[in-house]
């Protein structure tokens, strides 16, 4: 261990508190029982699809279109997930096939 037990515990405590803080802020701003303004209700309803769209890009943030393999494994696997899902509408099937295909592509095809 590079640090003492005490200091290590302190770091974990700080990381824990700051992480919780980012998650609790909206609940502090709009506590239970207080009327939620219409604008916030609206944002609460439309944010999930926007955030999920952002998270798809967040997961793919490290790909580089200009360097081999030009994001091909990610794009192929993502396309297969979408097509398979439109076709079968089965979450586990889409995610399972997409993941195995991606692993095969980066381990065997685009080396």
């Amino acid at each position: 261990m590079p640090l003492s037990t005490g200091k290590s515990l302190l770091i974990i405590a700080v990381v824990s508190v700051v992480t919780f803080l980012t998650r609790v802020i909206p609940f502090l701003l709009f506590p239970k029982g207080k009327e939620i303004p219409p604008l916030i209700k609206y944002l609460g309803a439309v944010l999930p699809p926007a955030v999920i769209g952002m998270l798809v890009i967040y997961c793919l943030k490290s790909v580089n279109l200009f360097v081999y393999p030009h994001a091909a494994p990610e794009l192929i696997a993502a396309a297969v997930v979408v097509i398979l899902h439109i076709w079968k509408r089965n979450n586990l099937l889409s995610i399972g096939v997409g993941t195995v295909l991606y692993m095969f592509l980066i381990q065997q095809v685009f080396i």
């Binding site: 992480t19 604008l39 609206y42």
Partner: protein, 241 residues
């Protein structure tokens, strides 16, 4: 009777959490390996996964365990890597308000994956809402703890080549995105989210694009409120949760 309600809720919730199970076991595993290489054994990994519970946050935190680290840096960097979470609670104010004693834990355990499941999964019939949401949150947390413990114990010894298995998480978000798109409503916010993220990924690079993306998303959603609400009235694009 109360206990039976929980058993039913966990049984109903489990299938929805299987993609997170796959993803968290392996992302958690990678965290356990990294932390163990720093000189912290599995008890430390478990402890951190229990009390922090954040994917990218814990990956980043591994770098804090060096002599001379300043706490102001720990606070600032942790805040920045988790800043997107500030917006998540807005969608769950009313639902968590009905969660009773579990409310604090529900807020604590609000990761990207749990947030996405909580916002998009329909509560099955005959299952209490608060118990069902709690079951999803707790199962996800347990997968994360288990993954990091296994990683810290097994070290770098992996029985097979697991490179790329973390794509399960990407695939989960793609599936949820597709599902929402096919459902017909909320397509405008979905497009706003993707376009903002791509734009700022290009402009700001892979390490600094989340906060500007989120701000851009908020501005776009607020400024197009009339348009989005009008479309929802026409039934073309409903936004009601």
């Amino acid at each position: 009777m109360k206990k039976k309600g929980y058993v039913r809720a966990f049984k109903a919730a489990f299938p929805y959490t299987i993609p997170v199970l796959t993803g968290y076991l392996f992302i958690g595993f990678a965290f356990g390996v990294m932390f163990q290489e720093k000189g912290y054994n599995f008890l430390w990994a478990i402890f951190m996964s229990v009390v922090v519970y954040a994917g990218s946050g814990q990956y980043l935190a591994v770098n804090f365990f060096v002599p001379g680290i300043r706490f102001v840096d720990v606070i600032f960097m942790t805040f920045m890597v988790n800043v997107r979470h500030i917006f998540y609670g807005l969608s769950l104010l009313e639902r968590f308000g009905r969660a009773g004693k579990k409310r604090a834990y529900m807020i604590f355990s609000l990761t990207d994956e749990t947030y996405s499941l909580l916002c998009t999964t329909k509560i099955p019939e005959g299952v209490a809402e608060d118990k069902f949401l709690f079951a999803i949150a707790l199962l996800d947390h347990l997968y994360w703890i288990a993954g990091s413990a296994i990683g810290a114990i097994a070290g770098a010894v992996i029985p097979f080549n697991a490179q790329g298995i973390d794509f399960a998480m990407t695939a989960l978000f793609i599936v949820i995105f597709t599902e929402q798109w096919l459902a017909g409503g909320k397509r405008i916010p979905a497009v706003i989210g993707v376009v903002s993220a791509v734009l700022f990924r290009i402009l700001c690079g892979s390490d600094n694009f989340v906060l500007p993306s989120m701000i851009c998303i908020m501005i776009c959603l607020v400024s197009s409120r009339k348009y989005i609400e009008k479309n929802s009235e026409k039934g073309e694009d409903t936004y009601a949760a």
